[in-house]
Symmetry: C2
Subunit: 544 residues, 2 copies
């Protein structure tokens, strides 16, 4: 470096150094402020969360109580009415079962929301307040450690300042020693030149010893100054070395602080905050997920009951409950008049011809009637199918109403347009009732037809038997009817098979009626059930 | 049948018949009553369900409003405070993100419960009232058909009564004709015996023609009675046949009614009831299931945010936001004094020996210090591990509180004993804070040690370089430090590697810290980030 460079003055260097130190001190203060602000934000967040969960807990409790009250209102009504009407739960009809399960679910939801309240109040909020304590305590401790770190930094920079000043001092002394040395050298040179001039012009003898002592004096001073300079230069070198070493140490210490210690300090403040907060949120989530699971289980139970809504089984239950009302009465027996010994249709002449004619008439009439009634039945079945399609239309999916992508307003209107628009409902219902009317008209027609067929068929069968018996009697066979039992007859066992014994699935109120129909050649079980009912009622009386 | 059997009198037969008819009539009336009662129960059920869903809808709306108010209270607070503090959402810290999502979820729940209200009021209840209409209408129509069926039955039994009476009449006439015939036969026989007696005793001639006409008269009467008897017997046979045929028809008709028609009648009443009710329940279930799905989605979002609670990332966010506060300051530069041309540690004699000695002293001191500090670090790590285990204990599962097998009371107490008993909490916290204290003591010790090491290491390294340079300078190599850049130094790049650069997982607040640590040789990214911060702040100033 040449002397042409304008040197920084000491004061400038000190000012620059002090400015740099001031900047660092400001940063350190700001860092504390930042940590403090962070802690305060956390405390504020924790307080907000506590307030939130306290209020949420209240809301859950209110909700729970409302649900409980609602369930209790109907449950108590059921308890009081049930004691009058039914004694056993076996008689529970499937729609009533659904209703009880809905109430059960309401009570379950009530309990679950009360549990939510309990967990929020006695767990989540407690955790949050503990985290608040932790944040305060950790901030204090971290600040303590931070202050120690800052003190260490300031100590290091103070040392740097000291060694820098020392270097400046020794370097200044070294410069001054150097300049003094140079001055001495200059004087020596001047003396040397002066003595050369004199020896050339006139030599004044008396002057010589005086000059020699002067030269000696200058030389001595130069030597002294040389020594002083060397001493100062060494001191300066040592001081510079010290300065440079301290500079490296200071820079390393500051680097370490900014790169590692500040980060560690923040970590100290953070210690466990995220983990504890996560556990708190997970407690909240666990509660909410469990509520959901419980709710889901309850809904599944209801769904199962809805799947089992079964009009056929309910019908049997009702008929069993009122078995005396639905039990077929005793068959009308032939009452022989005044010891009349003939108890059967008599087919001897002269009535035989007439009966035979009547039999054939009945046969052809029945054939016609059956064809006609079969046509009615087909129409009836088709109408029922149409009706069934209307009654089991899957119009109950309300997922659309829960789409959150759109705004609340547009959802609601969209939903009500889709699933329950008044025009659609009116149309559907009008259509349904029209079909229903037609169905009933056809049903009446069919019942009338089948009534007539039943009666004529009974006569026809009796005539056929009678006329056939006459023939068989000639071949020596004995009619089964002759060995008449005194046991009660089960008249329905001998009546013609029901023309529409396969139950209409629409009567069953089930979504997948087909799975149910597979195992229902129901006509026979129905008959068997009637038999059992009948035997229970009349069996002993008749058999005794 | 012999005449020894005591015949039933006509009156008895009629009385029995009428009793049987009366019994049937009573059953028919009771059947209607039963159908009516069934319909009434259904209407009552439907009314209860409507009332239930109306009240449930109200409860849902109250709940929805409370939740909305709760969310709004905090959201508005955030809106107003956020405008002051932050401008961008990028600076969202992970706990704040969780908090916002909890609020978002609250709003979502509010909306969903409002939707529930909407569906109950405008769909479920509407359906229920329609089913009520259907029940009333179908009961009326079914009763109409039932009445027709009953009329038909009564018609059939009346016919039976008529033909039975006819049979009785003709049979009575037949009996009377038979007895008259028998009387005539008796008279004829008497006459025949009388005439035999006379012819044996004395034949009075004048008496003969008188007797002959009497015999003829009797014979004529007998023939007449014979004819009458045959005629009546035929009429009786026909009437009996008619009676028997009608008996069969009547029994068949009654059987048909009891076996099929009553069942069909109930089916008519039931028509679509179960199906429509099922659809109504399914609408309710669809709403509840959809609410649940929506709730679940929202909870999953929160859970994801909780998984992403990350102290490290938050720390960087905060340091980025306050980059001026955390940016490492400019390195202290060597300030040459008054044009001092020596800017490096001088290692010429006479200081070389001293420096060399100092270098070796530093080397051995550092070795000792590093061993000591490594021991402290190991204790620190072990303590942190213990602390981490405490902080990440999985104590947030509250499933037990939602077990419904036990009674409500026992659940609550059991739950609070398990997951948040006060004694357990106090123990845990005391233990945690003790460990924390120990950790901080060790941490201070470690920081002090590493501070000293950092400074001594810097001096050591500079000395090593200086002394080595002296040697290398002799071999003609040029030190890299000689070609000094005027660019700012990144002092941290030359500082010793952080002794504990692997981040402590407990600082992260994550459940499975291991997955995170795998991709975090974090020390380098941290340095790189610091560089970028530094360049952003000082880069232009320094490079210009």
């Amino acid at each position: 470096m040449s002397s042409q460079t304008k040197f920084k003055k000491d004061k400038e260097i000190i000012a620059e150094y002090e400015a740099q130190i001031k900047e660092i001190r400001t940063q350190l203060v700001e860092q504390f402020k930042c940590l403090e602000q962070q802690s305060e934000s956390r405390l504020q967040l924790l307080q907000d969360l506590q307030e939130f969960f306290r209020r949420k807990a209240e809301i859950e409790l209110e909700y729970s109580r409302s649900l409980e009250k609602l369930a209790e209102r109907f449950s108590s009504k059921i308890r009081s009415s049930r004691e009058h009407q039914f004694k056993k739960d076996q008689c529970l009809l499937s729609p009533v079962n659904c209703w009880y399960l809905v109430l059960h679910q309401t009570r379950r939801e009530s309990r679950d929301h009360a549990t939510l309240n309990d967990i929020f109040m006695n767990n989540v909020i407690v955790r949050l307040s503990q985290i608040s304590e932790d944040v305060i305590r950790l901030f204090k401790k971290s600040k303590e450690i931070g202050l120690q770190m800052h003190e260490e930094l300031l100590k290091v920079t103070n040392e740097l300042y000291t060694v820098m000043k020392t270097y400046h001092m020794y370097h200044a002394e070294s410069i001054s020693a150097e300049s003094k040395l140079k001055e001495a050298e200059k004087q020596e040179e001047k003396q040397f030149n002066k003595s050369g001039d004199l020896s050339m012009n006139l030599l004044r003898h008396e002057d010589r010893p005086q000059r020699r002592s002067s030269v000696k004096k200058i030389e001595k001073m130069k030597e002294k100054r040389q020594a002083k300079y060397s001493e100062n230069k060494l001191k300066c070198t040592k001081a510079r070395n010290d300065y440079l070493l301290n500079l490296a140490a200071t820079n390393a210490a500051i680097s370490k602080y900014y790169i590692h210690d500040v980060s560690d300090l923040i970590d100290c403040c953070d210690l466990g905050f995220h983990a504890s907060l996560a556990r708190t949120f997970r407690t909240y989530l666990s509660a909410e997920y469990n509520l959901e699971t419980s709710r889901h289980e309850g809904l599944d139970v209801i769904e199962n009951a809805v799947d089992n809504l079964d009009s056929r089984s309910d019908k049997h239950t009702v008929m069993d409950m009122c078995s005396q009302v639905f039990c077929p009465p005793l068959k009308f027996e032939f009452q022989p008049h005044m010891g009349d010994e003939v108890c059967q249709v008599s087919a001897q002449q002269p009535v035989q011809t007439e009966l035979l004619m009547r039999y054939h008439q009945l046969q052809s009439r029945l054939a016609t009637l059956k064809i006609e009634n079969e046509e009615v039945r087909k129409t009836l079945d088709a109408t029922m199918q149409t009706l069934q399609d209307m009654l089991t239309v899957e119009d109950f999916d309300v997922s659309d109403a829960f789409q959150h992508s759109r705004s609340t307003e547009s959802i609601k209107s969209a939903a009500s347009e889709t699933y329950m628009s008044k025009i659609n409902i009116a149309k559907r219902r009008a259509n349904q009732q029209e079909t229903e009317m037609f169905y009933f008209t056809k049903f009446k027609e069919y019942v009338n037809g089948s009534n007539l067929i039943t009666k004529l068929q009974a006569k026809h069968d009796l005539l056929k038997q009678t006329l056939g018996e006459g023939e068989r009697a000639e071949c020596g066979t004995t009619s089964r009817r002759d060995g008449r039992l005194r046991l009660p007859h089960f008249p329905w066992l001998s009546c013609p098979p029901a023309p529409h014994f396969v139950p209409h699935p629409a009567f069953q109120g089930r979504r997948n009626a087909r799975t149910r129909n597979q195992d229902s050649g129901q006509a026979i079980p129905l008959v068997v059930e009637s038999c059992i009912r009948f035997i229970n009622l009349y069996g002993k009386r008749c058999l005794s």
